[in-house]
Symmetry: C2
Subunit: 300 residues, 2 copies
């Protein structure tokens, strides 16, 4: 079983506070906010996010997940546009989410276009709670034209000890690398909160979008709950999947994906006991049954 | 991209013949034989398998996959029973499947309880074609009481160059380790043929059994077709899922799982061009976008 790691937000990792397991709730209520956003409409996008967070809190949510690149939108036409829409980690979006987290006693995870102190923007997911910014993760696996706009990260998904359990985060295409999802689990994540912008596939897999299938498999093989918040609508010709979902550690869908396209706040209950117990049978353990001594070729 | 590896069947790997890619068909027809078998009824089980192989061939199949431990059945009560039902790699089952493969020009993949020259039985998947036995793989990740009956394998899934493309195999619970499925893809597998005996979950995931969801995700994240052949019925109180499926390299279901429990021969077409091309977008590649330098903790 993995040991606890301590890293600072500046390193891309999460601060590990000492929250004794005994003090954790047995269940938590998670929300996935599926938003329709518009490229460059930063104020409107922030307002839509804030409204969704409040709506989720009204429904009892304690952990609220927002899409990738929420304030800026996704389909940049140039690096200059991405730079113009980027903001620092102490900028208005993180301050807004931190205020909401403090006021409503939430853990909020969402994506921003981050302006680092130097270099090109980062495709970043932040974890904030009542104490403010807890972790900032830089997307490691970049999709499509993202290399034109973002410097990729090179640090593992952070795992943050919160009042709700250990919350990890990664961004969208990262989820397509089972190695990466596994790393979050090996580092002890209870819930993986994943901001996404899933472009719609030419042929949608039936009965469940393949993006959601991958999330279910990631949850199931790791006995880790996963909350993915997706976009909906169309942005500069890119149609989004609208595949937001809340998935239990068994891989079963707790909520989503919404049957109809459009904005939605999904809410569902996650059982931390199920997540903490990696046993999948009397003699089996999802992580303990791994044969890491045979997995060497994966890192060569 | 992975290089070609040459290993002998005795090493648990597949012989790599020189089949030029240009000589491969653009599509192949695969079959998954979902069988109802009975513990210890070796003759009847072999007959059921042979009948299913013939039925698949009649439907045009070129690659035929059979369940885990087809001749013996699965739910052993003792090591002595497993030993009594074990047979060598040149025993009657492999001889039967080799004869069928030669007569009908098939690649056949199926599971047997193997009696090795020394030691306890192995939970083995064999790959046979018109040239006879091409590879024998020993299940690496053991489920439930299997450690009481089987010595686990310690070699990677073999990848066998056949007239239909590069066929890899692993067994049932192995599929729950994304690392292992990835290794088959990294070794260049076009199609992963997986004999399984999936015990039914207490609560079946809707709308698709979670075992099938994991196979779809494995196919999708690796751009590799997967054919899984499952059991149906009940054996000594264990109900089988009946989750046999044929999955394209996109993760989309080509055939299965059967909506009703019971024996079935699923047949579906797989596009080798889709498998050979790991590009998932103009600037993306399912294997090339991996960041192996960051995956070190997976093998520690």
């Amino acid at each position: 079983m993995p040991g606890r790691r301590s890293r600072s937000p500046e390193e891309g990792g999460g601060k590990i506070a000492d929250v004794p397991a005994a003090s954790l709730p047995s269940t938590i209520v998670a929300a996935s906010c599926q938003l329709e956003l518009a490229i460059g409409q930063v104020d409107a996008n922030r307002a839509a996010a804030a409204a969704a967070v409040r709506s989720a809190a009204d429904a009892g949510a304690q952990l609220v997940v927002l899409p990738e690149l929420t304030p800026s939108g996704y389909v940049f036409e140039s690096l200059a546009e991405a730079v113009a829409l980027a903001e620092p980690l102490d900028g208005p979006t993180v301050r807004s989410w931190s205020r909401l987290a403090a006021e409503l006693d939430l853990v909020v995870v969402g994506g921003i276009c981050e302006a680092p102190p130097d270099g090109r923007p980062r495709n970043t997911s932040v974890v904030v709670d009542r104490d403010g910014l807890r972790a900032a993760y830089h997307k490691v696996h970049l999709w499509g034209d993202e290399p034109d706009f973002f410097t990729p990260g090179s640090l593992a998904p952070p795992v943050v000890d919160t009042a709700l359990g250990r919350v990890a985060t990664m961004v969208c295409y990262d989820l397509e690398f089972p190695e990466w999802v596994r790393l979050a689990a090996l580092q002890g994540a209870d819930v993986l909160a994943a901001p996404t912008n899933w472009p719609a596939e030419p042929v949608r897999a039936a009965p469940t979008p393949i993006e959601v299938v991958r999330v279910q498999a990631g949850a199931s093989t790791n006995r880790m709950a996963i909350v993915a918040a997706d976009r909906c609508g169309v942005e500069r010709g890119v149609e989004w999947t609208g595949g937001s979902c809340i998935v239990a550690a068994t891989g079963h869908l707790v909520a989503g994906p919404p049957p109809q396209p459009g904005p939605a706040v999904l809410v569902g209950e996650l059982h931390l006991g199920l997540v903490k117990d990696k046993r999948t049978g009397p003699r089996n353990d999802a992580l303990g049954d791994r044969r890491p001594e045979l997995y060497g070729p994966l890192s060569r």
